[in-house]
Amino acid sequence: MNVLLVEPDKILAGIYQQALVGAGHSVVWKQSAESAVHSADSQTPDVVVLELQLAEHSGVEFLYEFRSYAEWLEVPVVVLSRVAERALSGTQQLQLGVVAYLYKPRTTLQNLLRTVNQLRKPA
């Protein structure tokens, strides 16, 4: 699957990227909400793995922008955030197509891979 990874920290991004690529996914890493939208514009991802706490525009702002385009409405989003408490209500998550909310410090790479792998479309 094509994964769009939106992660502000370069080192963590490298680690997640390596794990996802190792599991057979191709990954595009973006550090900001703005560059993530540009990236999705050039190649629609199959899944977005998103940190909500980004510099400048937040992940929530990215989600609203992302969902405002018809072609991206069906793309599942996995939130992988350092924010412990849910920054999005259950209703918001449903509306914005957030399929999983993972708390980063407690989410192992295995958990992340399991969550992303479950989103594979049947062949």
């Binding site: 502000p8 080192i11 794990a19 973006k30 706490q53």
Partner: protein, 241 residues
Amino acid sequence: MADLICERTDLSDANERLWLALADQLKLPLTQIARRAELEDSKESAAESLLNIQQTAGLALKLIDSYALSVWARQTKLAFEPVSLAAMLRDTADELEPLAKRYGCRLRLAVARKCEPVMAHSQALSAAFLSLGQVFIEAGSGEAPGQNRVITLGSYRSKDGITVGVFGGGDQLTKGIYQRARLLYGRARQPFTTLTAASATGVFVADSLLGAMSAPLYVASHQKSKGLAANFLISHQLRLV
């Protein structure tokens, strides 16, 4: 008496806010360590991976130490001594170099001549600039190698004495944004959203340490690069020694 109570409440509030910001900041290095240790098919060699873990843990421990020092510094009268800014900045750059390399940033030293010595608490000054440099490095990395910033550790003569700071924070770093961030730290997860996605605790730890030396941080420019700096008075007597 009322003033004393008020002062203690302020101090305790400041410590608590700094503590909250620190707790949030430490999630980053600890998550990096936990996830790196989990990575099986690492491109790095085992020795390289261990070195990275060691460096990450080392800097996290230094941040904790700097926080503890800042709490202590505000409760005691610091003993000042002559400090060479050039040596302090060089040591700081040496300590930060591995982190800068991992984040793909370039560190630069720009120390003006005849800028020393200044009277300061040596340990507090080093801890402040190490914490500050760490924030700028983490904030300064980019997606592509060409996007990475140059972080300058510099000192220069100014009308207020000797200015020493870390520069490379981008054009959006303004006096107003910094003032707002100072009001928000410990209360908001991202007090410094224009600079970094994290809690930027190193900035407030540095501000607290430098504040204890009556040299609080402020937004300054050096060689067309914006950053955070503090002013120190030059010791003319010491220059004669």
